[in-house]
Every structure is written in C-alpha cells, then in structure tokens.
C-alpha cells in the first residue's frame, strides 16, 4: 500500500471566471511508506496546493488522491497525517504541552493519556523542561520544534510540511533539518516536504520532485543517493554537491523552456 497516491489530479481556481488559474495539471505522484519526498519549484508552481490537496484541506478539480490506501477525505477524518507550516501557528493562549495535546483532545483521548504523550513528544524534540511555558516565551526555532511535536503527537504515519524552516535563520535551519531526520528516522514517519531551498531538499530527501509553474506540473523527479544516517559531514559530501547541481539544472530547464524569470523564488543556499 502506498502512503500517498496522487492520480491524474488537476486543480483549477476560479474556474470559468476571468481570473481562472490552472494551479495544477495532471499530477501523478506516489510516495512509499517511510520515504522522504520534497516538492521544490518556483513560486506559483502549485507545490503548496499539492500538499493541501493531499491533506484534503482543498478538493481536486479532477483526479483522485489516496492516503494510506483510503480517500484523502477519509484519511483527514481519521487524522492519518500530521501537518506543520512555515509559521509554527501555536495557539498563544495554550501552554506548550496543551498545544501538543490539542490534536489528541479532538481525538477524544483522556487527560492522563494526553499528558503522557505530550511529555513523550517533548522528550523527542528535546524540550521537556518547557511543558508549562507559554509559546511567546520560546524562540522561533523552539516554537517550530513544538509545532513538529504537535504534528507527530498522534503518531501519524504521514507528516505533511509546508516550508516549516523557511522563517528560521541558517544555523537554526540546519540544526532543525538534522533534528527532523533524527525524529523521522526514530518514528519511521513518511514525509512530504515543500521547500524553496535546493540544499535543504537534497539533504533531507530520498527523492526531490521538481515542479514548474503556469500551469503547475511535475517536470522531474530526482533520486538522492545519500543513504540513511546523514549527518553534518553529508553537507560536505561530493555526491551531495552533485545532486544539488542536478536539481539546480532541472530547475534551470524549467526556466529556459519557458523563458521566464520565475526562478527568482528559489534559494541557492
């Protein structure tokens, strides 16, 4: 069974109106259990739209999406996935542990079970002493770690992330990438990860899906052959650089075939 199966999916916004946008055309994508897949492409290529379709936050115009072998709508109702965004989006009136407990509250877990799981998740993201803090007392990187803990609280098999490290500084970002790999390795979670950053996509992923805009579609899928157990040395590996170059050229191809300046949105760092 595939973790995610996107079959001939198109998404059109404002269909039939003058401001019609073909956000995604004829997308096919399969993600296997335990795989880490990044979606990369210039602004407007529909990578966030694709993530929201998988999450069933929006509905496809045509085609169908299966998550864990069931329709995306059912997977959402069953809370089969966890989600994290560029903004941590913590509820500012809840303590850190109550933020992590929120998805469990909605699943109807009792208090002692929620509390125990929140503590377990805080240990996982290495912030156990911050359970009773309010979100504003935490740094941006710490807040993002809490958001990841919240996304993983119900032990979902699938994690959907929309540029979760986009607002962090470079040092924190690299640290968070390593932490994410460690956490996902420990929990055997499948990840679909939207990013603007080529090195980030290569460092994290088993496969990098390259997308292009207007209309949004998949132009390339690049396998990353860096194995598991990646660490800070991976960032100096020659095959790491070779794959970065490969992804960059795939993105250039997008640019030259359409001769537009859309690559302005891509970070080379």
């Amino acid at each position: 069974m595939n973790a995610v199966k996107v079959n001939a999916v198109s998404k059109v916004f404002n269909q039939g109106r003058p401001n019609q946008v073909d956000a995604l055309i004829d997308i096919d994508l399969v993600v296997e259990p335990g795989e880490f897949v990044s979606l990369i492409g210039p602004s407007g290529c529909g990578k966030s739209t694709l993530l929201r379709l998988i999450a069933h936050l929006i509905e496809p115009t045509s085609g169908d999406i299966a998550v864990n072998g069931k329709p995306a709508s059912q997977a959402r109702l069953d809370q089969d996935y966890g989600m994290a965004f560029q903004q941590a989006g913590l509820f500012e009136w809840r303590t850190v542990e109550k933020n992590i407990e929120l998805p469990l509250e909605l699943k109807g877990w009792d208090k002692s079970r929620r509390r125990a799981r929140a503590q377990e998740m805080l240990e996982l993201v290495k912030l156990p002493e911050f359970a009773r803090h309010m979100p504003w007392q935490l740094s941006g990187g710490m807040q993002q770690r809490i958001a990841i803990a919240r996304a993983l609280a119900a032990h979902p098999e699938l994690l959907l992330m929309d540029e979760p490290f986009g607002a962090l500084d470079e040092m924190t970002r690299e640290h968070m990438q390593a932490e994410l790999l460690r956490i996902c390795g420990a929990t055997e979670t499948t990840v679909v990860f939207v990013t603007h950053s080529i090195p980030e996509a290569v460092y994290l992923s088993d496969r990098v899906v390259v997308m292009s805009p207007r209309p949004g579609r998949i132009t390339d899928v690049i396998d990353v052959d860096l194995g598991r157990g990646r660490n800070e040395d991976t960032r100096e590996d020659t095959s790491y650089y070779a794959t970065i170059t490969q992804v960059r050229e795939a993105l250039r191809k997008v640019e030259s075939s359409r001769s537009n300046p859309d690559l302005a949105g891509i970070e080379d760092r």
């Binding site: 999450a55 936050l57 959402r76 109702l77 069953d78 809370q79 996935y81 966890g82 989600m83 965004f85 903004q87 989006g89 509820f91 500012e92 009136w93 929120l102 998805p103 509250e105 909605l106 699943k107 803090h133 309010m134 504003w136 007392q137």
Partner: protein
C-alpha cells in the same frame, strides 16, 4: 527561565515606583500652584475655588458625595454589564449569520458619526421622572456597540493557520468555535472593556444633565453650581474623578491578566 521571571517582577515593582514618583510630584506641585494663584490674585470662589476650600467641602459633604457616587456608579455598572452581555451575544449572531454582519457594519459606522448621547432626552420621555432607566439604557447602548465591534472582530480574525490545523484534525464547527474563535476573542473583549468602562462612567454623568432624578454626581454638580456653592460642586467633580478612575483601573487590571499570559493584546476599536 523561572529565575529570570522572578528578577523581572522585582524590577517591575521598582520601575512602577519610579513611574509613580514623577506624576505624584507633578500633581502636588500643580495643587500648590493652584492654591497660591487663588490666594495671590484673590480669585473669587465662583470663578475658581482653592484646593483647600474644595477639600473642606469634600470632607463636609463626604456622605452626600458617596451616595451620589453610588447612584451614578451603579447606573454606569448596570449599563456596562447589560451592554457587554448584549454585545457578546450580538457578536456571536454576527459571526453565525453573514447577512447580519453586512447590515450591522454600516450601522456601526453611522452611529460612530452621530452623537447618540442625545437619545437620552428621548429615553427620559419614555419613563417616569424618577426612573434610572433612561441613563442605564444610554450606557447600555454605547457599551453595546463598543463590545460588539471588538468581540466580532476577535471571533472573525482567527489565525488562518489555526483554522487549517483544526480542519486537519477533523474538528467540527463547534470545536472550531471552542478551540479557536472564542479563545481568540477573549483579549478583544478585555480591550473593549478597557475602552467601554470609562466611557460608561462619562455617559452616566452626562446623561444626568438631560433631566430626571437629581440624585447622581452629574446633576449634583449642576445644582450646586446654580446655588453658588462652587467649592461643593468641585468636591462632586472630585467624586466623579474617583468613580471614573475606579472603573478604569479595574478594567486595566482585568486586561493585564490576559496580556500577561499571552504576551500581547490586540488594539481596540471604539465606535
């Protein structure tokens, strides 16, 4: 981190003390200059009574002032509570029915442009001469719109990420309301109260100028003026200041409870 919080509260009380010294010095200086000016230029009491005369009048009439303050203060409080409850209720209706929102917004804007305090004279005609209802109605109406506008904003302006997250947790509309909209609106309510509390006191005083019972602070000020007891009238003004300040401080204290937990509070809209 708890250690730094402890230090911070020490520092805060010292800063509070520092912050109080300057206004206290200024206030005492102001009263001294006032007293001196009245003595030196031999100002007549009907023009400007000296602070010493006002404080004598305040002490002599303390019980009367206290009773009048309770009458006006009670009008303000009843109107404040009624207006707040009605405003919260209406804000929920506005959120539930979009069409009401489209009708109510231009109305709130229109009310902003007209001095609705003049409605008191109409209310006075609707009730017996000894009734406190017209004043309480007026306060209710003014507080209602302040609370309505702010709470409706708090219920509506929820972080879009919170909405998406709750949707991803398969939350029902009622759960969305309980987990996101209502807690989001709480600081907006306290901001509204901070604006509405002093306004309710002012409205209660001013409403007394439009006739009816002569038992509140506002009417006592005018009646003492008219019989040339100016120092006594000023003593009632002091009483009015005390009532206004009490309402304001209580509302600020309430607001600071929520801001302390959340780190910030939203800006409010007065109508």
């Amino acid at each position: 981190m708890s250690a730094t919080l402890g230090h911070r509260s020490d520092g805060r009380s010292r800063r509070l003390l520092d912050a109080l010294v300057a206004p206290a010095v200024f206030g005492i200086g102001f009263l001294l200059v006032w007293e001196f000016t009245v003595q030196a230029f031999d100002l007549k009491p009907y023009f400007l009574p000296a602070p010493s005369a006002i404080s004598h009048a305040f002490v002599d009439n303390f019980n009367l002032i206290k009773d009048a303050a309770f009458v006006s203060g009670k009008n303000a409080l009843v109107g404040l509570i009624a207006g707040t409850l009605l405003g919260i209720g209406a804000a929920f209706l506005l959120m539930r029915f979009r069409i009401l929102n489209e009708l109510a917004t231009p109305m709130a804007v229109a009310l902003n442009a007209i001095p609705i305090i003049v409605l008191v004279s109409l209310f006075v005609n609707m009730y017996p001469a000894t009734s406190e209802m017209p004043r309480r109605l007026m306060v209710t109406l003014i507080v209602f719109f302040i609370v309505l506008v702010n709470v409706a904003k708090g219920l509506r302006q929820v972080n879009p990420i919170h909405v998406e997250l709750l949707r991803s947790y398969a939350a029902s509309p009622v759960q969305l309301l309980r987990k996101a909209r209502i807690p989001n609106a709480v600081p907006y309510l306290f901001t509204a109260l901070k604006i509405a509390a002093p306004t309710s006191v002012i409205t209660a005083f001013v409403a007394e100028y439009f006739g009816g019972n002569q038992n509140g602070l506002g009417s006592r000020i005018t009646s003492n003026m008219s019989i040339a007891k100016n120092a006594v009238a000023w003593a009632y003004v002091v009483g009015a200041c005390a009532v206004g300040l009490t309402f304001y401080l209580v509302s600020v204290a309430l607001e600071s409870i929520t801001t302390h937990r959340r780190g910030s509070s939203p800006g409010g809209d007065s109508t």
